[in-house]
Amino acid sequence: MSLIIDGLLAILAIYLALQSLLAPRLTQSVFLFFAFGLALALAWIRLAAVDVAITEAAIAAGFLGVLFLDALRDFAPRIPAKNEAVQKQYSKSQTKSLFLPRLTLWAGLGLFLLIALEAVWKIPEGGGLTAAAGTLLPESGVENPVTAVLLNFRAYDTWLEMGVILIGLLAVFAAGGKMAYRKPGVASQDPLLRQVILFFTPVLFLFGAFLLYIGKTGPGGAFQAGVLWGAIGILLHLGGWPFIALMPRWLGQLLLTVGLGFFLVLGFLFMAAGGALFEYPPAYAGILILIIETLAAISIAAALSAIFALLNQIGEEADEIESTT
């Protein structure tokens, strides 16, 4: 009976994915993609992956949504006006493409789909690592198995991944060229907007802290908390208080690197004491993991809000160029 829900969700997800690629307008695409994120979040819940669902909710509903919406303003309003020639060429080349190559392309994709479906249909029962994780869980220092895997059993992956976030920020810097990033913002004039931002800032902070703490025993943890805290930075930036740009340079750099750095230095310390990298004594594992998670959440939050601020700056620059021409 509950398969109806699953079937409906599956059809919805596939439909949304297809439509977000086929929709003729970019805004349609992007908003259908947001809806796709929601469908996925519901799918995670049906599959009993609440940790993943919180992450997806935070990322898809929050961070990615804001990034795409911010990117849309570059593309959406001007395409019909400015680039009519491009548009014409665009539609022309679409109709011009030959029938036969298209047919081969679609046939190839169809064949690929069929063997993909066969592969997942016939997949043998691997058994997974549930039992292994279950037996070792008491030694990990936390009660939530997902947190145990993330911060203890496979801490190396998590650590490298925090490196990836930092690299992502550096990469956005690299793509941005030599832009004047440290512009003081203009505080928003709208009283309600200010109140909303001021109200939601502590709410986001408290809920993030709650998720961070609860991550020890139940769904939640550093990433979810990091995204929620990053949303604070984004809100403040949007409200005209770009505090990341205004804080002293060293403090910003400290916030960005403290998660990655502390994680590694702690690992090196225990390695010097005779263990392996990221090997924690079981008695202290719980408290060490909590400290690492807190610092990691701070770094993730700082990195995400800085990424948003930089992308937003690219848009502002584009606006300025447009308004001068």
Partner: protein, 102 residues
């Protein structure tokens, strides 16, 4: 079927009705402002009924508190949303009219 279950069912059905009303409003109303109206009023009412029904069903004070919090936040968020979007659209319309007037 106990009396609590009956109340839960009634609350959920009423909630679903309001959700349907809200969605129909979003689909059928002619302009953005009335659609906003339908969405932010009816859906929140629907959510409130469903929240109340589920709080009764789960019957744990901690969960009830969380559900209440969710509902209050949603009320706050959607009333601000309503205002902000309406204000935004008004400015956009004005801007458009001015541009067309030029």
């Amino acid at each position: 079927m106990t009396i609590v279950e009956l109340i839960t069912v009634i609350f959920l059905v009423v909630g679903c009705f309001f959700f349907l009303a809200g969605t129909l409003g979003v689909l059928r109303f002619p302009d953005l402002f009335s659609r906003l109206h339908a969405l932010t009023k009816a859906d929140n009412l629907g959510l409130g009924f469903i929240a109340a029904g589920m709080a009764l069903h789960i019957a744990s004070p901690w969960a009830a508190l969380k559900i209440l919090l969710i509902w209050l936040f949603t009320l706050l968020a959607s009333s601000s949303t309503c205002y902000l979007i309406a204000h935004f659209q008004k400015e956009q319309d004005q801007l458009k009219n001015r541009k067309e007037g030029e």
